[in-house]
Amino acid sequence: MAEIAITLLLNALSAALALSLVALGLAIIFGFMGVINLAHGAFLTVGAYVVWMVPAKLGLSFWVGLVLAPIIVGLIGALIERFVIRYLYDRLLDTILATWGISLALVELVKLAFGTTSKSVSNPLRGSVDLGVTVYPTYRLFLIGFCLAILVAVFAFFKSTDIGVRLRAVIQDPDAASLQGLNKTRMYQYSFASGAALAGLGGAAIAPITTVDPTMGVTYLLESFFAVILGGTGALIAVVPGSLIVAGSTNVMTFIISPVLAQTIVFVFVIVAMIIRPQGIVPEAWHE
């Protein structure tokens, strides 16, 4: 029993941390720019295709793909910001439509380029590790550590680095920050690109344990939104508890009750939480 409990907890943790990474990208884009990015799922898909393509088409290792995925998706994000999103600031509804359109276009491009069949990203860390209480797949353990490391790095970046402080200044008061000589446009571009990069990285990291196909982003887009809404947009770190509840509890409950019921309960919980605490579940003290 202890064995199954630990396995389930690790499953929940790996799913939740991978979701945190993706949801953090969404939260950065929304928190910093007020843009609701419906192309986030497509960014994740592109990241997964990069990590598939690097070994399959270029013959390089998975790890090269894992590094390239956020860079490539980040660049795509920067271009989209430059040529589309930039003209739509302060037009919330239009950004929703525009990002949805971009999402459809990206997914269709992926289909045109690589077809609609599923792709396999072979697991770079085969085998399992004996943890004493249970034996657990090596790649999932890596995924847990990797996501934690990236999350810590991103939060440290915003807390401590010069550019992170500037970005936060732009969020708190874009006009005042502009008057202080901060380039608002540049900061927005960085935000959109880094949010996209996180989605791409998330897609690449989960690729070996899931199915890579053109529509894989949809589920993650939905779950990321739930995680961000549940955690609240007041603080970036809120995506972590948000994701733990959305992905973690679905995972654990799936073992106990039926999967569909588990998902329904989580969705109902998110709706109730939104009504009771529209500002998010994390305490105000965490907010910026």
Binding site: S118, K119, S120, T210, T211, T215, N251, V260
Partner: protein, 304 residues
């Protein structure tokens, strides 16, 4: 959609759709439009609400042609405890009703039945549950990206050798989402598989690959779709016309001996067809293990 194709584009016959949910909707439109459609996909058979539709010609295999011979074979070869895992919509649920009946008739036992929402690709918490129940056969009707993810995750958790795996929607094309080791040995049963050995199929595959390239996908949808066109050809020949009514009259009784072997539309507007049991090899293609004889539909639909 059906309305547009018929009213605006002037179609005399439609091909499609694919999913059961769509078919039920299209069937009702066909009654109104008085135009036949050829539905060439495996589906739940007489359990479907639109089974006796006058205009929807069902040219895919049904449970009595596939599940009823296949399940006893599984019990014989692999054991009598079954765990059913499907997507949460009509086709998996109604197919599983047929599986449950067949397992029951064969003296087997259903020890688990589970549905996941469509597009689920994280099975990591369902797998320990299946492992705990320890079935002899895991019978899957998950679709889309599910099969590849499920196979990868079972491989990752090292439990693939504990029970036989059956995937009715584990088609060529979706298997490629998992590594060959994760899919080898999976069973499926269909009216058409690429590996069927007859002259028409060998010729068809070679022409198809010449035209569309060596890696063009051939799966369990390919055969019925091609066969449907052959049946349509016979229908037009038989009735001597191509109006919707002519096609409908011609289809009733149409037959062809093509890539799936002998097929005929005898009764219920449902094709009589045999099925093939396949097992995934190390190239992620199905090898034919066994073939089952054609089974006629029930003939329960009067007046069509």
């Amino acid at each position: 959609m059906a309305d547009r194709l018929v009213s605006n584009e002037g179609a005399n016959v439609l091909m499609g759709p694919i999913s059961s949910a769509n078919r039920v909707a299209v069937s009702s439109a066909l009654e109104r439009l008085q135009v036949p459609s050829l539905y060439a996909s495996q589906y739940e058979g007489p359990a479907a609400d639109d089974y006796c539709s006058e205009w929807m010609f069902q040219l895919g295999d049904i449970p009595s042609q596939k599940i009823e011979p296949f399940v006893p074979w599984l019990i014989e070869e692999h054991g009598d405890s079954f765990y059913l895992l499907g997507d949460d919509y009509s086709w998996p649920k109604q197919t599983n009703e047929a599986v449950k009946q067949a397992v029951d008739d064969g003296g087997g036992e259903i020890i688990g039945e589970e549905y996941v929402s469509l597009d689920t690709t994280d099975f990591s918490s369902i797998i320990p549950r299946i492992e705990q129940e320890d079935p002899d056969v895991l019978f899957m009707t998950i679709t889309g990206g599910g099969p590849a993810a499920m196979q990868s995750q079972m491989q990752e958790q090292g439990i693939r050798d504990q029970f036989a795996q059956v995937g009715l929607a584990h088609g060529q094309g979706v298997l490629q989402g998992a590594s060959p080791e994760a899919t080898e040995g999976v069973y499926s049963c269909h009216a058409y598989l690429e590996g069927i050995e007859n002259d028409s199929n060998t010729e068809f595959i070679s022409k198809y690959r010449d035209k569309h390239g060596d890696d063009a996908l051939v799966n369990y949808f390919t055969g019925p779709a091609y066969n449907a066109i052959k049946l349509l050809e016979d229908a037009v020949d038989r009735s001597g016309g191509s109006s919707p009514e002519d096609i409908k009259q011609g289809l009733q009784g149409a037959s062809t001996n093509s890539i799936m072997g002998e097929t005929i539309i005898e009764s219920d507007n449902q094709m009589t067809v045999g099925t093939f049991l396949g097992q995934v090899n190390s190239d992620q293609k199905y090898d034919i293990v066994k073939s089952f004889d054609p089974v006629s539909p029930t003939g329960d639909c009067d007046d069509i």
